[in-house]
């Protein structure tokens, strides 16, 4: 049996070696990881706005950045829905509460879509994504979730195409009642539940992922309302 002094010494050495190794690797790879993460965000904005010519699968990171730069205008809006001229999303400071990034997709000078970031609590994790509307500010053009820690195969289905396709063509405005209708996720299939106009405000849910689904409903409600001052102006033609 080795003495206590040896045991302590051994523990310290193990900690130092592992600690130094991990910090060195994390520090050394940080730049690459950040580049990857930033590129992933841009890819997701492009995915949410549903590019008219989709990105070819063999596109390099540089191609994607180029497409992004040409087609996406980065703007910042305030709580009243005014665009703050000359400000970029990355310039929003943490202390500036009521400023929100907005991404405008245009093709040949024509606006094709508006996209904005969405985030909220799921079951295990915070879900991050983008939500895009058509130029009419009513019809959903696309949605993506790019970061989450939900159970794969259950809540993790939010990142799958079938779930995201669900949203396309739905509307966030009730023409009958003249009010905002953030998209909500139902349990099961929409067509089994709603036969009227409400079918347009709801999407199919994920089996066995009720909490993630209601998380999506809650975050869409929150962010649709936050961006509504901006979109209601478009709807009124101002």
């Amino acid at each position: 049996m080795k003495g206590n002094r040896y045991t302590f010494l051994f523990a310290v050495i193990v900690c130092v070696v592992c600690g130094v190794l991990l910090s060195a690797v994390a520090e050394g790879l940080r730049h690459r990881q950040e580049v990857n993460a930033a590129l992933d965000v841009k890819k997701n904005i492009l995915k949410a706005v549903k590019l008219i010519e989709p990105i070819p699968p063999e596109a390099t990171p540089r191609d994607i950045l180029e497409i992004y730069q040409v087609k996406i205008d980065e703007k910042v809006i305030d709580a009243e829905g005014n665009i703050i001229e000359g400000k970029k999303p990355e310039e929003i400071k943490e202390t500036e509460k009521n400023q929100y990034p907005l991404y405008i997709y245009h093709e040949r000078e024509q606006i094709v879509a508006y996209a904005f970031p969405i985030a909220g609590q799921g079951l295990w994790s915070t879900l991050y994504g983008y939500f895009a509307l058509e130029p009419d500010a009513i019809t959903v053009r696309g949605i993506t979730f790019y970061k989450h820690g939900e159970t794969p195969g259950l809540g993790g289905e939010i990142e799958k195409e079938w779930f995201q396709k669900n949203f396309e063509g739905k509307t966030i405005w009730s023409k009958k009642e003249k009010k905002l209708t953030p998209i909500a996720v139902v349990k099961g299939h929409v067509e089994d539940i709603y036969q009227d106009e409400r079918a347009d405000f709801h999407v199919d849910g994920i089996t066995a992922a009720t909490i993630t689904s209601s998380g999506v409903t809650a975050l869409l409600d929150r962010w649709t309302r936050i961006y509504d001052p901006f979109f209601s102006r478009i709807r009124q033609g101002r």
Partner: protein, 211 residues
């Protein structure tokens, strides 16, 4: 004298992990992840590769320092080594294989708590030289992988009607009234399946708890 890598003894080490002493069906370890990540073949495969790598690597490391580890703190040393290896892999994936790392998401962290890894360290690596420890880690990892992938195939096929994300059950079946089995998607379904797999494997290998 170094013995050949695939000598009879060494083959037995791998075979033990794969069949006779399979970590899931014989040792009944790693059940948590076998239930959680097998709704789809893809995730099951990725988890299987991750666990096999981690078990083999940490087995080697622990085996290299086995004679220096004070027995009082051996468990925590093992845990530290496992976590270091797992985080290292996670960091490298994030930097060079971003898409893979996104798919793995929570699983990488889950490997740390997988009983198979620590079980092999404690049972094998602490008392065997590095080469054998490596083979043992590999064998056990592969044994775990086989069960996981089998579960993944059955669950994805009957639970979602797909394999590797592609629809394999024809639409005419659905029109004729076929429905996907919802139980397969949920954890209890995996429990029943796993029970059957353990039963089948044990009856073939002739293992019995009552000697």
């Amino acid at each position: 004298m170094a013995e050949a890598l695939l000598s009879k003894k060494n083959k037995k080490i791998i075979k033990d992990g794969l069949w006779e002493a399979n970590p899931i069906t014989f040792q009944v370890l790693g059940i948590c992840s076998a239930l959680a990540v097998t709704t789809q073949v893809k995730t099951a495969l990725v988890m299987a590769i991750g666990l096999t790598t981690v078990t083999a690597m940490s087995n080697v490391i622990i085996s290299l320092i086995r004679n220096f580890i004070p027995s009082k703190i051996r468990i925590i040393v093992q845990l530290t080594v496992v976590s270091t290896v797992v985080i290292l892999i996670d960091q490298i994936l994030k930097a060079y294989f971003f898409d893979v790392s996104k798919q793995l998401s929570v699983f990488v962290g889950l490997i740390i708590t997988n009983c198979i890894v620590m079980g092999r360290l404690e049972a094998f690596a602490m008392s065997n030289p590095p080469r054998k420890a490596f083979l043992d880690g590999l064998g056990n990892g592969l044994g775990y992988s086989c069960v996981l992938i089998t579960l993944g195939i059955i669950r994805e096929l009957f639970g979602s009607g797909t394999l590797w994300g592609y629809h394999v059950i024809p639409h005419s079946f659905y029109e004729a009234g076929y429905v996907n089995n919802g139980l397969m998607v949920l954890a209890p379904g995996a429990f029943f399946l796993l029970g059957c797999i353990i039963w089948i494997q044990r009856s073939i290998s002739g293992y019995s708890e009552v000697k």
